[in-house]
Symmetry: none
Subunit: 209 residues, 2 copies
Amino acid sequence: MPQVFVTPQNTLRERWREAFPEAVAVAEVPHLSTVPSAEQYSVWLDLGAVPVAERLAQARAACACGYPVVAMVPLPREGEAFSLLSAGIQGYCHVEAASGQLQEIAQVVTRGGLWMPPTMLQRFLAVSTRSVAAVQLGMAEFDELTGREQMVAEQVALGASNREIAEKLEITERTVKAHLSAIFAKLGARDRVQLALKMNNIPTQHKKG
Amino acid sequence: MPQVFVTPQNTLRERWREAFPEAVAVAEVPHLSTVPSAEQYSVWLDLGAVPVAERLAQARAACACGYPVVAMVPLPREGEAFSLLSAGIQGYCHVEAASGQLQEIAQVVTRGGLWMPPTMLQRFLAVSTRSVAAVQLGMAEFDELTGREQMVAEQVALGASNREIAEKLEITERTVKAHLSAIFAKLGARDRVQLALKMNNIPTQHKKG
DNA sequence: AAACACATTGTACTTTCGGACAGGTTCATT
DNA sequence: AATGAACCTGTCCGAAAGTACAATGTGTTT
């Protein structure tokens, strides 16, 4: 996947060429539409010379092109990371990032992932711990299942049939059914579909009567 | 950095060898202390056959060795990701992750980063920002369905049975089956469970033969 | 008018699922 | 030794799900 760097100077930094020998540079976000559109690009926004107030708008404009966008700033800040990631960018890194790190970021974002500095990521996790704790409580029922039942439930959540589960766990199809019956009773699911949805934190409409 | 896989079978999966030709396998976490300690290792925990209740303990034990630890599970869950990441692991991924992804994960964790499935990361971010980004990604395949088929598919995604769908749409149960057969063919789903999961953007493991 | 997509329903059939009933083992606790 | 929990398995049976083959009616497009 080719790399496009949006930078005011319209020239590639050495590090960028080092990381991506075939990268190209454009001066402004609107010019992105001038690059050949057949291929899949990653867009790198050099926000080093862009006022903080204007960065969000630029990020939005870049995201509108449909390509994964990585914002590069002189001094990564949590608040800015929040707003930009919420705006749809997929990467947020230091503008002086080493070439190796640039390649790593490229890998992550081209696969649909998000990238931000590790320390920042850990902060995010710490912050969201409490909020998600509530979600976890919903699956407190899951802990009521025995070890074997949990394995069966996981397989159902992946769309496996009884036969497949039996083969995977090396037990009889009959045993799978036994575990399933226990699971349904404990989790209040009506059938494997509702179990599969419940396991994935998806609410179901039709409860058992 | 060499890779050590902790797996009950004590044998490396093909994917793992594919990703890391020089990887080694050990049967249990305690055996980790037997590997030469001069070098820097990444430890991969195969938790596929480990009861959920015991996973946290295993993760803690592995982390105690001082190496970066990646936990691999059959069905990544947010709650589990939290408890394990809080316990000190640096990666949390699917046990069936492709070799390319494994390499990506290795890069991230060896540089001190955390890795988890992109969708999960986005969920965490969404929770943190409190902006419930219910980004319902438009499923291209979904548009291939006729109007009536879409309605049936939606009901299945809510956990409805054929009888319930028939009542809701005021048609015969037989007609529901007809629509379902068409839906399965168009979306490549094997049964209603896989359809329900697909409709909710959840990947399934067992495809149709 | 003809062709076509869509929606609907029927009969008949096979497969899968889930429960009822009845056991068996292993292992830890009492 | 006894109790119980977890795990495993068997047979039987009914319900649900899914498929095959066939058909009708409604629209719209050509």
